[in-house]
């Protein structure tokens, strides 16, 4: 419902941008999807930290699931960003924009998490190695996020939020906020479904071994 409302507001209620025209409305999905990816990676790092600090074994699966959802949202960020870039800049991708390259590095870093995870045997060692890796990735989060603010703007738009508040009209800001909440809710729902699925799978495996 939130997603439908958010997309409805973005497409029908928010005013059209004078410079970019209808393609600017990609902003209402591209930015929330990117922020959701950051949130997922941040959550994965927090769960990894809990595993290493408190030895909470459940946190391993939670961290893994958060990375899983984060990578999906990261891929969506890259795809929607490429579509927006093509219509705005005339290219699908440019290596001259630091923030794009940093986001790609972040995405590839977390994609490599799966290779690391599945190259070791299940158990406490794998859980700890994966947790250290997920936690290390958290260092890239502020770098990637702040790159948009610190980099010299060539093509990528300047951040729409600064010390003076949002640099957009009230209707645009409300539409953006609804889309962001919708995207975070969607990610939360997918995270819970995925986590439950993985836990059920683990229980089934145990049951199969008992009955074998």
């Amino acid at each position: 419902m939130l997603l439908v409302t958010g997309l409805g507001l973005a497409l029908l209620w928010a005013p059209e941008d004078a410079d970019q025209g209808p393609s600017q409305r990609i902003f209402y999905i591209h930015v929330p999807v990117a922020l959701t990816a950051y949130a997922c990676f941040g959550w994965a790092a927090w769960k990894a930290f809990r595993l290493l600090w408190k030895g909470d074994e459940r946190a391993d699966l939670e961290s893994y699931t958060a990375v899983h959802i984060g990578v999906i949202f990261g891929l969506l960020t890259l795809v929607t960003g490429s579509i927006w870039a093509k219509i705005s800049w005339g290219v699908w991708w440019t290596w001259s924009e630091r923030q794009l390259v940093l986001f790609l590095i972040l995405f590839l870093f977390y994609s490599a998490y799966f290779m690391l995870r599945y190259s070791t045997e299940p158990g406490p060692r794998r859980a700890r190695t994966s947790a250290v890796y997920a936690l290390f990735g958290a260092v890239l989060l502020p770098v990637s996020f702040l790159a948009i603010r610190l980099a010299n703007q060539l093509l990528h738009p300047a951040p729409l939020f600064n010390r003076d508040g949002p640099q957009m009209s009230a209707s645009m800001f409300i539409s953006f906020c609804v889309c962001l909440v919708a995207m975070l809710t969607l990610a939360g729902a997918l995270y819970l479904i995925e986590l439950t699925g993985k836990r059920v799978d683990a229980r089934l495996r145990e049951l199969r071994e008992l009955l074998a």
Partner: protein, 50 residues
């Protein structure tokens, strides 16, 4: 439909397709879990002689 509108539609369709694909994958997973549970229940019944 202008070029801008076509690209806008493409971006929204990507998101819609991703959500749809995820729902299909979850449905397949639930079906697999149900099948495995049925099989395990049958095995458990055989073990207990039920």
């Amino acid at each position: 439909m202008s070029t801008g509108e076509k690209y806008l539609a493409a971006a929204y369709l990507v998101l819609f397709a991703a959500v749809l694909l995820y729902v299909v994958l979850i449905a397949l997973k639930v079906t697999r879990i149900e099948r495995e549970l049925t099989e395990l229940a049958r095995l458990a019944k055989e073990r207990t002689g039920g």
